[in-house]
Protein backbone atom coordinates (compact mmCIF):
# COMPACT_ATOMS: atom_id res chain seq x y z
CA UNK A 1 0.00 0.00 0.00
CA UNK A 2 1.14 3.48 -0.77
CA UNK A 3 2.27 5.55 2.15
CA UNK A 4 0.08 8.64 2.28
CA UNK A 5 1.76 10.96 4.67
CA UNK A 6 0.31 14.31 3.72
CA UNK A 7 -2.76 15.21 5.70
CA UNK A 8 -2.72 12.30 8.13
CA UNK A 9 -3.14 12.71 11.83
CA UNK A 10 -0.21 11.55 13.94
CA UNK A 11 -1.30 11.13 17.56
CA UNK A 12 1.43 11.73 20.14
CA UNK A 13 -0.48 13.63 22.79
CA UNK A 14 1.94 16.56 22.74
CA UNK A 15 1.33 20.17 23.76
CA UNK A 16 0.92 21.12 20.11
CA UNK A 17 -1.81 18.50 19.72
CA UNK A 18 -3.62 19.95 22.69
CA UNK A 19 -3.80 23.44 21.22
CA UNK A 20 -7.10 24.84 20.09
CA UNK A 21 -7.59 24.01 16.39
CA UNK A 22 -8.76 27.56 15.70
CA UNK A 23 -5.53 28.96 17.09
CA UNK A 24 -3.50 26.48 15.09
CA UNK A 25 -5.42 27.39 11.95
CA UNK A 26 -4.90 31.12 12.40
CA UNK A 27 -1.24 30.66 13.26
CA UNK A 28 -0.79 28.49 10.19
CA UNK A 29 -2.33 31.21 8.05
CA UNK A 30 0.04 33.71 9.63
CA UNK A 31 2.89 31.31 8.93
CA UNK A 32 1.87 30.97 5.26
CA UNK A 33 1.73 34.74 4.84
CA UNK A 34 5.12 35.01 6.48
CA UNK A 35 6.65 32.39 4.19
CA UNK A 36 5.42 34.32 1.17
CA UNK A 37 7.04 37.51 2.42
CA UNK A 38 10.43 35.97 2.97
CA UNK A 39 13.08 36.90 0.43
CA UNK A 40 16.39 36.48 2.20
CA UNK A 41 18.09 33.14 2.62
CA UNK A 42 18.91 34.01 6.23
CA UNK A 43 15.25 34.41 6.97
CA UNK A 44 14.65 30.94 5.54
CA UNK A 45 17.03 29.58 8.14
CA UNK A 46 14.84 31.15 10.80
CA UNK A 47 11.74 29.63 9.18
CA UNK A 48 13.42 26.22 9.13
CA UNK A 49 14.37 26.62 12.78
CA UNK A 50 10.76 27.45 13.61
CA UNK A 51 9.49 24.36 11.80
CA UNK A 52 12.07 22.22 13.55
CA UNK A 53 11.03 23.65 16.91
CA UNK A 54 7.34 22.94 16.29
CA UNK A 55 8.19 19.45 15.03
CA UNK A 56 10.21 18.67 18.14
CA UNK A 57 7.58 20.02 20.53
CA UNK A 58 4.81 18.14 18.70
CA UNK A 59 6.85 14.90 18.87
CA UNK A 60 6.02 14.10 15.25
CA UNK A 61 9.04 12.25 13.77
CA UNK A 62 11.18 14.68 11.73
CA UNK A 63 11.33 12.13 8.95
CA UNK A 64 7.56 12.11 8.70
CA UNK A 65 7.47 15.88 8.28
CA UNK A 66 10.17 15.65 5.61
CA UNK A 67 8.24 12.90 3.87
CA UNK A 68 5.30 15.23 3.39
CA UNK A 69 7.38 17.03 0.76
CA UNK A 70 7.37 13.90 -1.37
CA UNK A 71 3.86 14.58 -2.54
CA UNK A 72 4.78 17.94 -4.09
CA UNK A 73 8.36 17.29 -5.16
CA UNK A 74 7.44 17.28 -8.85
CA UNK A 75 5.57 20.53 -8.62
CA UNK A 76 8.56 22.04 -6.83
CA UNK A 77 10.99 20.85 -9.49
CA UNK A 78 8.84 21.97 -12.41
CA UNK A 79 8.02 25.36 -10.89
CA UNK A 80 11.66 25.92 -10.00
CA UNK A 81 12.80 25.04 -13.53
CA UNK A 82 10.29 27.42 -15.08
CA UNK A 83 11.41 30.18 -12.77
CA UNK A 84 15.04 29.34 -13.36
CA UNK A 85 14.70 30.02 -17.07
CA UNK A 86 12.04 32.68 -16.95
CA UNK A 87 13.91 35.15 -14.81
CA UNK A 88 16.76 36.69 -16.73
CA UNK A 89 17.81 39.37 -14.27
CA UNK A 90 21.37 39.76 -13.12
CA UNK A 91 24.53 38.23 -14.53
CA UNK A 92 23.99 35.60 -17.23
CA UNK A 93 25.76 32.43 -16.17
CA UNK A 94 24.84 29.98 -18.91
CA UNK A 95 22.98 30.24 -22.13
CA UNK A 96 22.01 27.84 -24.89
CA UNK A 97 19.50 28.32 -27.68
CA UNK A 98 16.56 30.09 -26.01
CA UNK A 99 17.46 28.92 -22.52
CA UNK A 100 19.32 31.24 -20.24
CA UNK A 101 20.27 30.85 -16.63
CA UNK A 102 21.04 34.00 -14.74
CA UNK A 103 21.77 34.86 -11.14
CA UNK A 104 18.25 36.23 -10.74
CA UNK A 105 16.82 33.02 -12.08
CA UNK A 106 18.73 30.90 -9.63
CA UNK A 107 17.64 33.05 -6.71
CA UNK A 108 13.95 33.02 -7.66
CA UNK A 109 14.09 29.27 -8.30
CA UNK A 110 15.60 28.58 -4.87
CA UNK A 111 13.20 31.00 -3.28
CA UNK A 112 10.20 29.34 -4.82
CA UNK A 113 11.36 25.82 -3.99
CA UNK A 114 11.99 26.72 -0.35
CA UNK A 115 8.73 28.59 -0.14
CA UNK A 116 6.70 25.62 -1.40
CA UNK A 117 8.58 23.16 0.78
CA UNK A 118 8.12 25.21 3.95
CA UNK A 119 4.51 25.79 3.05
CA UNK A 120 3.79 22.08 2.82
CA UNK A 121 5.84 21.30 5.91
CA UNK A 122 4.02 23.93 7.92
CA UNK A 123 0.55 22.88 6.81
CA UNK A 124 1.28 19.17 7.20
CA UNK A 125 2.41 19.90 10.76
CA UNK A 126 -1.06 21.32 11.26
CA UNK A 127 -2.72 18.17 9.94
CA UNK A 128 -0.33 15.88 11.80
CA UNK A 129 -1.22 17.49 15.09
CA UNK A 130 -4.92 18.18 14.52
CA UNK A 131 -7.59 15.59 13.82
CA UNK A 132 -9.68 16.34 10.73
CA UNK A 133 -12.68 16.66 13.02
CA UNK A 134 -10.97 19.30 15.17
CA UNK A 135 -9.80 21.01 12.03
CA UNK A 136 -13.19 21.16 10.43
CA UNK A 137 -14.82 22.11 13.72
CA UNK A 138 -12.25 24.88 14.00
CA UNK A 139 -13.00 26.07 10.49
CA UNK A 140 -16.69 25.96 11.20
CA UNK A 141 -16.15 28.06 14.29
CA UNK A 142 -13.98 30.56 12.40
CA UNK A 143 -16.59 30.73 9.66
CA UNK A 144 -19.19 31.77 12.20
CA UNK A 145 -19.73 35.23 10.66
CA UNK A 146 -20.73 33.51 7.41
CA UNK A 147 -23.39 31.53 9.22
CA UNK A 148 -25.14 34.77 10.01
CA UNK A 149 -25.62 35.36 6.29
CA UNK A 150 -27.06 31.84 5.92
CA UNK A 151 -23.99 30.06 4.58
CA UNK A 152 -24.34 26.38 5.60
CA UNK A 153 -21.06 26.33 7.52
CA UNK A 154 -21.79 23.03 9.20
CA UNK A 155 -22.40 21.25 5.92
CA UNK A 156 -19.17 22.70 4.55
CA UNK A 157 -17.34 21.43 7.62
CA UNK A 158 -18.79 17.93 7.27
CA UNK A 159 -17.89 17.84 3.57
CA UNK A 160 -14.29 18.74 4.39
CA UNK A 161 -14.13 16.15 7.14
CA UNK A 162 -15.42 13.43 4.84
CA UNK A 163 -13.05 14.47 2.06
CA UNK A 164 -10.09 14.13 4.42
CA UNK A 165 -11.35 10.79 5.65
CA UNK A 166 -11.61 9.38 2.14
CA UNK A 167 -8.20 10.48 0.84
CA UNK A 168 -6.39 7.33 2.03
CA UNK A 169 -9.29 5.10 1.03
CA UNK A 170 -9.37 6.43 -2.52
CA UNK A 171 -5.57 6.25 -2.76
CA UNK A 172 -5.75 2.58 -1.85
CA UNK A 173 -8.44 2.13 -4.44
CA UNK A 174 -6.27 3.72 -7.14
CA UNK A 175 -3.57 1.22 -6.28
CA UNK A 176 -6.00 -1.67 -6.49
CA UNK A 177 -7.43 -0.57 -9.84
CA UNK A 178 -3.96 0.01 -11.25
CA UNK A 179 -2.90 -3.45 -10.16
CA UNK A 180 -6.01 -4.96 -11.68
CA UNK A 181 -5.35 -3.15 -14.97
CA UNK A 182 -1.70 -4.14 -14.89
CA UNK A 183 -2.72 -7.76 -14.39
CA UNK A 184 -4.67 -7.43 -17.60
CA UNK A 185 -1.71 -6.02 -19.46
CA UNK A 186 -2.10 -2.28 -18.97
CA UNK A 187 1.07 -0.26 -18.93
CA UNK A 188 1.37 2.97 -16.98
CA UNK A 189 5.06 3.70 -17.02
CA UNK A 190 6.07 3.58 -20.65
CA UNK A 191 5.58 5.88 -23.58
CA UNK A 192 5.32 9.64 -23.84
CA UNK A 193 3.39 11.95 -21.59
CA UNK A 194 0.31 11.72 -23.77
CA UNK A 195 0.37 7.96 -23.90
CA UNK A 196 0.74 7.75 -20.15
CA UNK A 197 -2.09 10.15 -19.57
CA UNK A 198 -4.23 8.06 -21.87
CA UNK A 199 -3.26 4.91 -19.98
CA UNK A 200 -4.65 6.48 -16.82
CA UNK A 201 -8.12 6.79 -18.30
CA UNK A 202 -9.05 3.16 -17.51
CA UNK A 203 -8.02 3.91 -13.93
CA UNK A 204 -9.97 7.11 -13.58
CA UNK A 205 -13.27 5.77 -14.87
CA UNK A 206 -13.61 2.89 -12.38
CA UNK A 207 -12.35 5.23 -9.68
CA UNK A 208 -15.13 7.70 -10.40
CA UNK A 209 -17.75 4.98 -10.60
CA UNK A 210 -16.65 3.60 -7.26
CA UNK A 211 -16.46 7.06 -5.71
CA UNK A 212 -20.04 7.74 -6.73
CA UNK A 213 -21.13 4.41 -5.31
CA UNK A 214 -19.33 5.19 -2.06
CA UNK A 215 -20.96 8.60 -1.96
CA UNK A 216 -24.33 6.97 -2.38
CA UNK A 217 -23.77 4.55 0.48
CA UNK A 218 -22.29 7.25 2.63
CA UNK A 219 -25.36 9.40 2.09
CA UNK A 220 -27.51 6.54 3.36
CA UNK A 221 -25.23 6.06 6.35
CA UNK A 222 -25.41 9.79 7.17
CA UNK A 223 -29.19 9.66 7.01
CA UNK A 224 -29.28 6.48 9.09
CA UNK A 225 -27.41 8.34 11.78
CA UNK A 226 -29.88 11.19 11.83
CA UNK A 227 -27.81 13.80 10.03
CA UNK A 228 -29.67 17.12 10.17
CA UNK A 229 -32.14 15.73 12.69
CA UNK A 230 -32.09 18.88 14.76
CA UNK A 231 -30.78 22.40 14.23
CA UNK A 232 -29.51 22.26 17.81
CA UNK A 233 -26.68 19.92 17.06
CA UNK A 234 -24.31 19.43 19.99
CA UNK A 235 -20.56 19.09 19.84
CA UNK A 236 -18.68 16.29 21.54
CA UNK A 237 -15.36 18.04 21.35
CA UNK A 238 -15.70 21.58 22.51
CA UNK A 239 -12.61 23.58 21.85
CA UNK A 240 -11.55 25.81 24.71
CA UNK A 241 -8.79 28.37 24.67
CA UNK A 242 -6.08 27.67 27.22
CA UNK A 243 -2.74 29.04 28.37
CA UNK A 244 -1.02 26.83 25.83
CA UNK A 245 -2.76 28.72 23.06
CA UNK A 246 -1.48 32.03 24.41
CA UNK A 247 2.07 30.67 24.64
CA UNK A 248 1.87 29.25 21.11
CA UNK A 249 0.61 32.57 19.76
CA UNK A 250 3.38 34.45 21.53
CA UNK A 251 6.10 32.08 20.35
CA UNK A 252 4.84 32.23 16.78
CA UNK A 253 4.53 36.00 17.03
CA UNK A 254 8.13 36.32 18.21
CA UNK A 255 9.31 34.06 15.41
CA UNK A 256 7.40 35.96 12.75
CA UNK A 257 8.86 39.22 14.04
CA UNK A 258 12.30 37.66 14.00
CA UNK A 259 11.90 36.37 10.46
CA UNK A 260 10.59 39.71 9.22
CA UNK A 261 13.48 41.47 10.96
CA UNK A 262 16.09 39.15 9.43
CA UNK A 263 14.35 39.37 6.08
CA UNK A 264 14.65 43.16 6.05
CA UNK A 265 18.19 42.96 7.35
CA UNK A 266 17.24 44.87 10.48
CA UNK A 267 20.47 43.98 12.27
CA UNK A 268 22.68 44.38 9.21
CA UNK A 269 23.74 40.75 9.12
CA UNK A 270 24.41 40.75 5.41
Amino acid sequence: MREVSFGQYYPSGSKVHALDARVKLLLTIAFIVMVFLVKSLYAYIAVAAFILLVTLVSRVPVLKVLKSIKAIIFIVIIMSLINLFANAEGKVLWSWWILTISEGGIITAINLALRLIFLVMGTSLLTYTTTPMELTDGMESLMYPLKLIKVPTHDIAIIMSIALRFIPILMEEVDKIMMAQKARGACFDRGGVLKRAKALLPVLIPLFVSAFRRADELALALDARCYNATPNRTKYKQAKLGWGDLVATLVTGVFITLVVAVNNNFWGLY
Binding site: M133, R165, E217, A221, R225, T234
Partner: protein, 285 residues
Protein backbone atom coordinates in the same frame (compact mmCIF):
# COMPACT_ATOMS: atom_id res chain seq x y z
CA UNK B 1 -39.66 -17.77 23.29
CA UNK B 2 -41.84 -16.50 20.44
CA UNK B 3 -44.92 -16.78 22.59
CA UNK B 4 -43.53 -14.77 25.46
CA UNK B 5 -42.64 -11.89 23.17
CA UNK B 6 -45.60 -12.08 20.84
CA UNK B 7 -47.51 -9.28 22.51
CA UNK B 8 -44.41 -7.13 22.59
CA UNK B 9 -44.13 -6.41 18.90
CA UNK B 10 -41.57 -3.75 17.94
CA UNK B 11 -41.76 -4.06 14.19
CA UNK B 12 -44.87 -4.80 12.24
CA UNK B 13 -44.84 -5.06 8.48
CA UNK B 14 -48.32 -5.32 7.07
CA UNK B 15 -48.81 -6.40 3.46
CA UNK B 16 -46.04 -4.16 2.15
CA UNK B 17 -45.08 -3.83 -1.48
CA UNK B 18 -42.39 -1.65 -2.98
CA UNK B 19 -41.05 -1.28 -6.51
CA UNK B 20 -38.02 0.70 -7.57
CA UNK B 21 -39.05 3.36 -10.01
CA UNK B 22 -37.14 5.99 -11.92
CA UNK B 23 -37.87 9.67 -11.41
CA UNK B 24 -40.22 9.50 -14.42
CA UNK B 25 -42.10 6.69 -12.66
CA UNK B 26 -40.84 3.92 -14.90
CA UNK B 27 -40.54 0.51 -13.32
CA UNK B 28 -36.89 -0.42 -12.70
CA UNK B 29 -36.93 -3.41 -10.41
CA UNK B 30 -39.15 -5.17 -7.97
CA UNK B 31 -38.29 -4.64 -4.34
CA UNK B 32 -40.73 -6.56 -2.19
CA UNK B 33 -44.24 -7.86 -2.75
CA UNK B 34 -47.03 -8.36 -0.20
CA UNK B 35 -44.70 -8.95 2.71
CA UNK B 36 -46.20 -9.28 6.18
CA UNK B 37 -44.21 -10.08 9.27
CA UNK B 38 -43.76 -9.00 12.84
CA UNK B 39 -40.74 -8.95 15.08
CA UNK B 40 -40.91 -9.05 18.85
CA UNK B 41 -38.81 -7.15 21.35
CA UNK B 42 -35.50 -8.81 22.13
CA UNK B 43 -35.69 -11.25 19.26
CA UNK B 44 -32.74 -12.22 17.12
CA UNK B 45 -34.15 -12.42 13.61
CA UNK B 46 -32.44 -13.35 10.41
CA UNK B 47 -33.65 -12.31 6.97
CA UNK B 48 -32.32 -14.86 4.52
CA UNK B 49 -32.29 -14.60 0.78
CA UNK B 50 -29.94 -14.47 -2.13
CA UNK B 51 -29.03 -11.33 -4.08
CA UNK B 52 -32.06 -9.52 -5.39
CA UNK B 53 -34.46 -11.32 -3.07
CA UNK B 54 -35.59 -8.03 -1.56
CA UNK B 55 -33.94 -8.34 1.82
CA UNK B 56 -32.05 -5.05 1.65
CA UNK B 57 -35.16 -3.32 0.35
CA UNK B 58 -36.89 -4.49 3.48
CA UNK B 59 -34.10 -3.03 5.61
CA UNK B 60 -34.41 0.33 3.87
CA UNK B 61 -38.16 0.24 4.41
CA UNK B 62 -37.68 -0.38 8.13
CA UNK B 63 -35.51 2.71 8.47
CA UNK B 64 -37.81 4.93 6.47
CA UNK B 65 -35.30 5.46 3.68
CA UNK B 66 -38.04 4.39 1.34
CA UNK B 67 -41.77 4.37 1.95
CA UNK B 68 -43.94 1.41 0.92
CA UNK B 69 -46.03 1.73 -2.25
CA UNK B 70 -48.79 -0.05 -0.38
CA UNK B 71 -49.18 -1.49 3.09
CA UNK B 72 -47.80 -0.10 6.33
CA UNK B 73 -44.71 -0.52 8.47
CA UNK B 74 -44.73 0.44 12.11
CA UNK B 75 -41.72 0.62 14.38
CA UNK B 76 -42.63 0.86 18.05
CA UNK B 77 -46.11 1.77 16.87
CA UNK B 78 -44.87 4.66 14.71
CA UNK B 79 -45.68 4.60 11.02
CA UNK B 80 -42.50 4.97 8.92
CA UNK B 81 -44.33 6.94 6.26
CA UNK B 82 -44.95 9.87 8.59
CA UNK B 83 -42.27 12.46 7.82
CA UNK B 84 -42.26 14.12 11.22
CA UNK B 85 -41.25 11.01 13.10
CA UNK B 86 -38.55 9.85 10.71
CA UNK B 87 -35.64 10.81 12.97
CA UNK B 88 -37.27 9.17 15.94
CA UNK B 89 -37.46 5.95 13.95
CA UNK B 90 -33.91 6.26 12.67
CA UNK B 91 -32.53 6.80 16.14
CA UNK B 92 -34.43 3.76 17.37
CA UNK B 93 -33.48 1.57 14.41
CA UNK B 94 -29.71 1.53 14.12
CA UNK B 95 -28.46 0.38 10.78
CA UNK B 96 -25.06 -1.08 9.92
CA UNK B 97 -24.25 -1.45 6.24
CA UNK B 98 -22.13 -3.76 4.16
CA UNK B 99 -19.00 -1.73 3.53
CA UNK B 100 -17.49 -0.48 6.78
CA UNK B 101 -15.45 2.21 5.00
CA UNK B 102 -18.49 3.82 3.46
CA UNK B 103 -20.32 4.44 6.71
CA UNK B 104 -17.68 6.17 8.78
CA UNK B 105 -17.70 9.92 8.73
CA UNK B 106 -14.75 10.80 10.90
CA UNK B 107 -11.08 9.90 10.78
CA UNK B 108 -10.91 9.23 14.51
CA UNK B 109 -12.99 6.45 15.97
CA UNK B 110 -14.41 8.36 18.92
CA UNK B 111 -15.41 11.24 16.62
CA UNK B 112 -17.28 8.78 14.45
CA UNK B 113 -19.14 7.45 17.47
CA UNK B 114 -20.02 11.00 18.47
CA UNK B 115 -21.55 11.80 15.10
CA UNK B 116 -24.95 10.18 15.70
CA UNK B 117 -25.58 11.60 19.19
CA UNK B 118 -24.33 15.03 18.05
CA UNK B 119 -26.92 15.03 15.31
CA UNK B 120 -29.56 14.22 17.88
CA UNK B 121 -28.44 17.09 20.10
CA UNK B 122 -27.36 14.94 23.04
CA UNK B 123 -25.41 16.84 25.73
CA UNK B 124 -21.62 16.48 25.71
CA UNK B 125 -21.21 14.54 28.96
CA UNK B 126 -23.83 12.06 27.90
CA UNK B 127 -22.07 11.54 24.55
CA UNK B 128 -18.84 10.86 26.42
CA UNK B 129 -20.56 8.17 28.49
CA UNK B 130 -22.18 6.60 25.46
CA UNK B 131 -18.88 6.44 23.54
CA UNK B 132 -17.18 4.70 26.44
CA UNK B 133 -20.05 2.27 26.80
CA UNK B 134 -20.44 1.53 23.09
CA UNK B 135 -16.73 0.91 22.54
CA UNK B 136 -16.62 -1.35 25.56
CA UNK B 137 -19.65 -3.27 24.31
CA UNK B 138 -17.99 -4.08 20.99
CA UNK B 139 -14.57 -4.56 22.59
CA UNK B 140 -12.79 -1.73 20.81
CA UNK B 141 -11.98 0.58 23.73
CA UNK B 142 -8.23 0.60 23.17
CA UNK B 143 -8.70 2.00 19.66
CA UNK B 144 -10.73 4.98 20.76
CA UNK B 145 -8.32 7.70 19.64
CA UNK B 146 -7.08 5.92 16.53
CA UNK B 147 -7.95 6.09 12.88
CA UNK B 148 -10.25 3.40 11.46
CA UNK B 149 -8.02 3.04 8.40
CA UNK B 150 -5.55 0.68 10.01
CA UNK B 151 -8.15 -1.71 11.44
CA UNK B 152 -9.12 -5.10 10.05
CA UNK B 153 -12.47 -5.52 8.34
CA UNK B 154 -14.04 -7.16 11.38
CA UNK B 155 -12.76 -4.43 13.69
CA UNK B 156 -14.03 -1.70 11.36
CA UNK B 157 -17.44 -3.29 11.31
CA UNK B 158 -17.46 -3.50 15.11
CA UNK B 159 -16.69 0.21 15.20
CA UNK B 160 -19.55 0.76 12.78
CA UNK B 161 -21.82 -1.14 15.17
CA UNK B 162 -20.56 0.98 18.08
CA UNK B 163 -21.22 4.15 16.08
CA UNK B 164 -24.82 3.10 15.78
CA UNK B 165 -25.04 1.93 19.40
CA UNK B 166 -24.06 5.41 20.56
CA UNK B 167 -27.52 6.56 19.44
CA UNK B 168 -28.95 3.98 21.87
CA UNK B 169 -31.13 2.21 19.34
CA UNK B 170 -33.62 -0.44 20.40
CA UNK B 171 -33.30 -2.34 17.17
CA UNK B 172 -30.08 -3.13 15.37
CA UNK B 173 -30.21 -3.97 11.68
CA UNK B 174 -27.12 -5.52 10.16
CA UNK B 175 -27.62 -5.20 6.42
CA UNK B 176 -25.19 -7.73 4.91
CA UNK B 177 -22.65 -6.44 7.38
CA UNK B 178 -20.65 -9.64 7.22
CA UNK B 179 -20.66 -10.02 3.45
CA UNK B 180 -17.35 -8.28 2.85
CA UNK B 181 -15.49 -9.84 5.76
CA UNK B 182 -13.17 -12.80 6.05
CA UNK B 183 -14.28 -15.74 8.26
CA UNK B 184 -12.56 -14.25 11.32
CA UNK B 185 -14.20 -10.86 10.80
CA UNK B 186 -17.57 -12.51 10.26
CA UNK B 187 -17.20 -14.42 13.50
CA UNK B 188 -16.30 -11.20 15.36
CA UNK B 189 -19.35 -9.36 14.06
CA UNK B 190 -21.67 -12.31 14.69
CA UNK B 191 -20.36 -12.73 18.21
CA UNK B 192 -20.89 -9.00 18.88
CA UNK B 193 -24.44 -9.10 17.53
CA UNK B 194 -25.27 -12.23 19.54
CA UNK B 195 -23.87 -10.72 22.70
CA UNK B 196 -25.86 -7.50 22.24
CA UNK B 197 -28.98 -9.58 21.86
CA UNK B 198 -28.38 -11.90 24.82
CA UNK B 199 -26.85 -9.45 27.30
CA UNK B 200 -28.49 -6.15 26.41
CA UNK B 201 -31.77 -7.55 25.16
CA UNK B 202 -31.37 -5.70 21.89
CA UNK B 203 -33.64 -6.67 19.03
CA UNK B 204 -31.33 -7.70 16.21
CA UNK B 205 -32.26 -8.13 12.57
CA UNK B 206 -29.50 -9.76 10.61
CA UNK B 207 -29.72 -9.68 6.84
CA UNK B 208 -27.54 -12.21 5.14
CA UNK B 209 -27.24 -14.90 2.54
CA UNK B 210 -25.11 -17.13 4.75
CA UNK B 211 -27.42 -19.72 6.29
CA UNK B 212 -24.91 -20.69 8.97
CA UNK B 213 -25.32 -17.21 10.49
CA UNK B 214 -28.98 -17.98 11.03
CA UNK B 215 -28.36 -21.08 13.13
CA UNK B 216 -28.58 -19.31 16.48
CA UNK B 217 -31.53 -17.07 15.56
CA UNK B 218 -34.90 -17.01 17.30
CA UNK B 219 -36.70 -16.56 14.04
CA UNK B 220 -35.76 -16.86 10.39
CA UNK B 221 -37.53 -15.20 7.48
CA UNK B 222 -36.78 -16.42 3.99
CA UNK B 223 -37.24 -14.09 1.05
CA UNK B 224 -37.19 -14.95 -2.60
CA UNK B 225 -38.02 -12.74 -5.57
CA UNK B 226 -39.35 -10.09 -3.20
CA UNK B 227 -41.76 -12.40 -1.46
CA UNK B 228 -41.68 -13.90 2.01
CA UNK B 229 -41.69 -17.63 1.35
CA UNK B 230 -40.87 -18.98 4.76
CA UNK B 231 -40.91 -18.08 8.43
CA UNK B 232 -40.00 -20.07 11.49
CA UNK B 233 -37.23 -21.30 13.75
CA UNK B 234 -33.94 -22.19 12.10
CA UNK B 235 -34.72 -25.87 12.55
CA UNK B 236 -38.10 -25.57 10.86
CA UNK B 237 -36.67 -23.58 7.98
CA UNK B 238 -33.47 -25.52 7.43
CA UNK B 239 -35.12 -28.93 7.45
CA UNK B 240 -37.59 -27.77 4.81
CA UNK B 241 -35.59 -28.99 1.82
CA UNK B 242 -38.08 -27.67 -0.71
CA UNK B 243 -37.98 -24.15 0.77
CA UNK B 244 -34.20 -24.02 0.95
CA UNK B 245 -33.98 -25.03 -2.68
CA UNK B 246 -36.57 -22.50 -3.75
CA UNK B 247 -34.66 -19.67 -2.10
CA UNK B 248 -31.35 -20.84 -3.59
CA UNK B 249 -29.78 -21.04 -0.16
CA UNK B 250 -26.88 -23.12 0.96
CA UNK B 251 -27.37 -25.21 4.10
CA UNK B 252 -24.70 -25.29 6.80
CA UNK B 253 -22.32 -28.21 6.36
CA UNK B 254 -23.66 -30.11 9.41
CA UNK B 255 -27.23 -29.94 8.10
CA UNK B 256 -26.15 -31.00 4.64
CA UNK B 257 -24.26 -34.02 5.96
CA UNK B 258 -27.11 -35.11 8.21
CA UNK B 259 -29.59 -34.88 5.33
CA UNK B 260 -27.36 -36.81 2.99
CA UNK B 261 -26.68 -39.49 5.59
CA UNK B 262 -30.40 -39.85 6.04
CA UNK B 263 -30.87 -40.12 2.30
CA UNK B 264 -28.34 -42.93 2.21
CA UNK B 265 -30.40 -44.86 4.70
CA UNK B 266 -28.89 -43.95 8.05
CA UNK B 267 -31.26 -43.15 10.87
CA UNK B 268 -29.97 -39.74 11.84
CA UNK B 269 -31.93 -36.69 13.00
CA UNK B 270 -31.62 -33.37 11.20
CA UNK B 271 -28.59 -31.52 12.58
CA UNK B 272 -28.28 -27.75 12.80
CA UNK B 273 -24.82 -27.54 14.33
CA UNK B 274 -21.63 -29.56 14.23
CA UNK B 275 -22.29 -30.75 17.80
CA UNK B 276 -25.73 -32.07 16.89
CA UNK B 277 -24.27 -33.86 13.92
CA UNK B 278 -21.55 -35.45 16.06
CA UNK B 279 -24.15 -36.53 18.57
CA UNK B 280 -26.35 -37.98 15.85
CA UNK B 281 -23.47 -39.92 14.36
CA UNK B 282 -22.42 -41.26 17.78
CA UNK B 283 -25.90 -42.58 18.37
CA UNK B 284 -25.88 -44.56 15.15
CA UNK B 285 -25.92 -48.28 15.64
Amino acid sequence: MENSTANNVVIKIDNVSYDYRSSSDEFIARGVKNVSLSIGKGEFCVLLGRNGSGKSTLAKLLNGFIVPDSGTITVNGIDTSVDESIYEIRSKVGMVFQNPDNQMVASIIEDDLAFGPENLGIPRDEIEKRITWALETVGMSEHRKRSPNKLSGGQKQRVAIASVLSMLPEILILDESTAMLDPKGRAEVMETAMRLNKEKGMTVILITHYMDEAVGADKVFVLSEGELIGEGTPREIFSNVELVKRAYLELPVASKISLELKESGYDIPFALTDEELAEGICKLK
